[in-house]
């Protein structure tokens, strides 16, 4: 039904173990290009673990073992041995649950990624890139007069948008968001959600969220996880109106989780 080329990332047979404990059990999930996919489910269901597999952030954890196939753009196996992890993360950016700006200036925060990857060749090019990234993250107007101020002085919502600006500064194809609004108030949350809606024109976004209303507002596709299993996936409108599985229905109607 959908053309294969329209998937940014396809996963299959994914198993994740922490030591002897199974965290993800045989999950297969595909992420359509330039769309927002949300991963929902109760705490401890493995949705964050799964998300962190997609840019290999789990590699840092010694006891964590990831198996399965992860194919990006139908060609690149992101767990291939000869693929430098740094190049992968240049393509797949990430925004974390708690805003984590570096204790540097606002400018330096956004310039960090481009500097490491040598994206720009001149200072003015870098300046433009920083400005553009801040613009896209909807932060530029608020901080344009104080780019040299320390980023940790920004409000929580501004910090999170700065982290988004930082993530898009190296022009990734996919942005992973791990409960990006859970530490924010409703107004800051609304701004981030607007931002997600704008960003999906250029990026594929995968978002883990605890808020079902958020999932229904921002995403076109939703996957429901429970106890490491992928229970159901499909169009967001379908999942939230007439899900196939009873478990899904129980969860979205608030009967458990």
């Amino acid at each position: 039904m959908v053309d294969n080329n329209n998937f940014a990332l396809k996963t299959n047979n994914v198993y994740v173990h922490y030591g002897n404990k199974m965290a993800i059990n045989n999950v297969a999930l595909d992420f359509p290009k330039n769309e927002v996919t949300s991963l929902i489910g109760p705490s401890g269901c493995g949705k964050s673990t799964f998300l962190r597999c997609l840019n290999r952030m789990n590699d840092v954890i010694d006891s964590c073992k990831v198996e399965g196939s992860f194919i990006m753009n139908n060609t690149i196996d992101i767990y291939r041995d000869d693929l430098p992890i740094e190049n992968l993360r240049e393509k797949i950016g990430m925004v974390f649950q708690k805003p984590n700006p570096f204790p540097k200036s606002i400018y330096e925060n956004v310039a960090y990624g481009p500097k490491i990857h040598g994206v720009t060749s001149s200072q003015s090019e870098l300046d433009d890139l920083v400005k553009e990234s801040l613009h896209r993250a909807g932060l530029y107007d608020e901080v344009k007069d104080r780019l040299t101020d320390v980023a940790t002085g920004l409000s929580g919502g501004q910090q999170q948008r700065l982290c988004i600006a930082r993530a898009i500064s190296i022009k990734p194809e996919i942005i992973l968001m791990d409960e990006p609004c859970s530490a924010l108030d409703p107004i800051a949350t609304a701004k981030i959600e607007d931002l997600i809606n704008e960003l999906k024109e250029n990026y594929t976004i995968i978002i883990v969220t605890h808020s079902m209303s958020q999932a229904s507002r921002v995403s076109t596709k939703t996957a429901f996880f429970h106890l490491g299993n992928l229970i159901e996936e499909g169009d967001t409108s379908k999942i939230f109106t007439k899900p196939d599985k009873e478990q899904t229905n129980d969860y979205i109607t608030g009967r458990f989780g």
Binding site: V60, E86, F96, F102, P103, Y112, I116, R166
Partner: protein, 478 residues
Amino acid sequence: MVYFALLLLFIVSYSFYYFGKNRALKIKFTGDQKLASLPDYYGYFLVLVVFLPSLIIWFILLLYKSNFQELYVMSPTLFPDIAQWSDAKFGLIMNKISNLALIVNIPEADLLKGQTSLLNMSSESELIAAKNLASFDSIYGWSIVIVFILLPVILGLSISRLINQKLNVQPIVEKIIINIIRFSSIVAILVTFGIFFSLIFEAIKFFQYVNFADFFFNTAWNPNRAWVISSGETVDPEILKDAFGWVPLLTGTLLVGSVAMFVAIPLGLASAIYLAEYASSKVRDIAKPIIEILAGIPTVVYGFFAALTLAPILKNFGDSIGIDISAESALAAGLAMGVMIIPFVSSLSDDVIRSVPNSLRDGSYALGATKSETIKKVVLPAALPGIMGSFLLAVSRAIGETMIVVMAASLRANLTFNPLEPATTITTQIVTALIGDVEFENPKTLVAFALGLSLFVMTLILNIIAITIVRKYREKYE
């Protein structure tokens, strides 16, 4: 005797805890009113009112024991002209009476010859005073028994009668406890000031002999010139002009300290980075305590390691490549000192680096940075203020270090910045000044206090800077 009484006081006080608590619990309540405080507090209340007065009176007795003695013994009825005595005479007679008191109650037959003649040389009133003094100790002993046992029991029993349902002792108890805690911290602060002022007073005596400018700006250090001065004599400052110039000591201290930091900073920082970022937790658990042992080795051991092992090796090495390295070089002392302060740098920096939140590391990795880029560009900059703080603490440790330089560095003041030459340090000269056989009031001895004061101020400033930096850093993530 006193310790036995003190033990009794503890037991008495402790039993009053249960006494007070029980008394409170046995109160028959009228109406629906309950006890004003929790039952425990009536116990604490009695303990405090029993324990504290005894303790305070005991301290006063201890502090003024000799005054009470004199008051008791040297009465004007025995010595009518006592008001006219000079302090020296008073002291002499008191001394004589103390000696007499030791023998006055011994039967004459058991006395030695000298003791008999001392008795015969003494006046009637002196003998009476001596007998009084001999009896003073037993009076003093009994007064302690009263203070430690009778007073608390009487106080405890009478105050416990006040306990009733409406007596709210909780605020009283808390107030007393807060004041005890406050007193403890004041004591610590007072001790610091006491040390500072004792240094200042002795240093002022020193500066009566030597000009301020001659001390701080002169480059000649020849303290032996002060041999000629006898106590109390006023001397022409010109004689001491070139005797106490501290500049070569300062440069020596800075020289040895720099060598030490040259060793400690790279090694300490590198091991901190390894421990915090690369070592597995197993390696870290073993390696960190071992590195910290370096700080626990007695400095005297470093001293003879530097003097007897390191210095000859350096000298031989220098000879083999044609460089003249002194046997008492600043290099040897500095190297040993540097090894000693490695843990100050590594341990503190390790803690600081580890306290950088992992979310920052994740943020950097997620942008495709490698581990070394993350450490260099995110972790270390974030930890930098704390790392600087650890450097400064290590520096102040280095310039205050004594034993290593006493053993390994030279005694000769030498104004140089060449670590291969001998150099002396402030601390070495303080030791030398105080262990000499010159009388105390001589500037050669008193200079120790001027040097100590300068050193104290230097390390104080360094510590204040270090603490300010570390504190500023702590606030950053909150």
